[in-house]
Symmetry: C2
Subunit: 199 residues, 2 copies
């Protein structure tokens, strides 16, 4: 499967993505929790990382329509957070709607053939990640999207009114920090399975 032309095209694609990854790494733009997995992937023959976020706790501002297009990170933390930094930010917010989010890992892995893409799905299943699927399937270029499920997603302030009181915000922070740690464990499992299954 795959002509010589497709193979060299894949090699170029992988080289380009690896270059982007290494530049981001030098500039400190890769989430530190993702570095070991991404480094391993960049050294495989058949795989590359197209984009990744290891997970984060965030406050997201939305306009009236609440569409993704209008959304903007008001605050984001790639780590566990303190109650006071979240409560302070919520108090300061003066936009339309503010959502509190604990977002799980998201990763796009690329490969050359359907068979190799299926190996990514197997690695995810073994790591206990249910949300993984092939998003792009072209000759010589397959992209698998991998999303963890450790999430919290709730609006907390609207039209200047804090809907979630301080007690509840404190509780949300505690739960988000717990989920953040669980998410990192899932990431470690994924790394282990990637090392076993993706070459």
């Amino acid at each position: 499967m795959g002509s010589a032309g497709e193979k060299s095209r894949f090699k170029m694609t992988k080289e380009r993505h690896t270059g982007t990854f290494e530049k981001a790494l030098r500039e400190g733009k890769v989430d530190k929790d993702f570095v070991p997995l991404c480094k391993y992937i960049s050294k495989t023959k058949n795989y590359f990382t197209a984009s990744s976020c290891a997970g984060r706790i965030a406050l997201v501002a939305l306009d009236k329509g609440e569409t993704k297009k209008e959304s903007a990170f008001y605050r984001k933390w790639h780590r566990t957070v303190a109650e006071k930094e979240v409560i302070g930010a919520v108090k300061e917010f003066s936009g339309k709607v503010l959502w509190f989010k604990q977002e799980s890992l998201i990763l796009h892995l690329g490969t050359d053939t359907l068979e190799n893409a299926k190996k990514i799905l197997v690695a995810c299943e073994k790591a206990g990640i249910k949300r993984a699927g092939i998003k792009v399937a072209k000759e010589g270029r397959f992209i698998v999207e991998i999303i963890g499920t450790q999430t919290i997603n709730t609006p907390v302030k609207e039209d200047g009114k804090i809907q979630a009181d301080e007690n509840f915000l404190n509780y949300l922070v505690k739960k988000a920090n717990e989920k953040f740690s669980k998410n990192l464990k899932v990431l470690k499992k994924l790394e282990k399975e990637a090392r076993k299954n993706l070459k």
Copy 2:
């Protein structure tokens, strides 16, 4: 692509899934909002629905570990909800942790070839659904998972203590009902695109 054996195997798979759908339909077990789309799919030549939920508002009970395995629907509604039914249920709950969830549509569509699976991804993209991917890719059997993104997901009660006060629960219900309606609009768009792209 696909041998005669694979084709007749696909035909049998489609017939089996169509039979399951029609039985569920007769027994009133298919979400009414999904009926037009599922009926259309069952009449196509190349596609079948493997499982579906049009979207719901739910209270989910979790045990200490908070794993999916332990989770159970404490209440679920395939419709918009009234504040008092949610608040009443939260008050009554006596388990470990209770989560309030607005869940978006989830649909598994099956088909016979990679080319036909890609047509599902195109239909989803056109309908504005970002979470869609090929989960199963076997000779003669491809399954695409489609998940909407209109969600709310937050813990509200733990160890007998209601963390979200009545004001906040009322607010959550209002937001969940809005999301529920938005989700149905996405479902209508998906149906329109399915009729155009899936035959």
